[in-house]
Point group: C2
Chain length 130, copies 2
């Protein structure tokens, strides 16, 4: 058993290669037996990921605020604290905060061959605006 | 992509076979490609799981409150909102609220052959009291 105390966490600024706007990532846990990783990600209003996919999918638990998520080819969806988003393997999508509200989520994904995400182009203002 | 809206969740009372005190479990997500399950579990003050193990381990993210976790043969540890607990495969342990404060956590584990936990004896008041 291992405890990772929130009081000692260090945030890392999300790289502009994969994010638009101010994003902070805190690595929370990696379960060695199953390669499951957990991270807490905080998006300032207007901030979002680039388009990306996950080799084994991802679960997002919205821990606070209000945001947006979109699967390629589908309409943008609003997400709120307490919601869960299940992203299938290989599904191209993005997620982020609302324009006028921060959003924080707990992200859970499985690492496959050392890789947990494949990153693509940034989300344009037009796509972000819906 | 699938959204599970928190506003529509239904809680299920934790069975007295596996829990002591008042516990509510909300199933949040199952990622089909990797058999990763996520649930939100709310413990009233004094409530706790029985002793148990997980075939592929578990990650707990303490979403609110204050609680306790113990691995067999080790001292009881205090846990607080924002902390993460990583439980290895087969590690016998329990978790629950503090005697004077509720605790809520997000639990993430991998299902192996249809099974995500093996349940054992209840946590006695002496063990719970530390």
């Amino acid at each position: 058993m291992e405890l990772n105390l929130g009081a000692h966490l260090t945030g890392k600024r999300g790289t502009p290669d994969y994010f638009t706007g101010e994003v902070w990532v805190e690595a929370l846990a990696q379960s060695p037996s199953s390669n499951v990783q957990m991270a807490r990600v905080s998006f300032a209003p207007g901030a979002r990921t680039a388009w990306h996919t996950h080799p084994a999918g991802q679960i997002l638990y919205i821990s606070s605020g209000r945001g947006r998520v979109q699967k390629q080819g589908e309409p943008l969806r609003e997400i709120h604290a307490g919601d869960t988003v299940i992203i299938a393997a290989g599904e191209k999508h993005w997620h982020g905060a609302a324009p006028d509200c921060p959003m924080q989520h707990i992200a859970v994904h499985t690492v496959v061959g050392g890789n947990s995400a494949d990153w693509m182009e940034q989300v344009s203002d037009a796509d972000y605006g819906g």
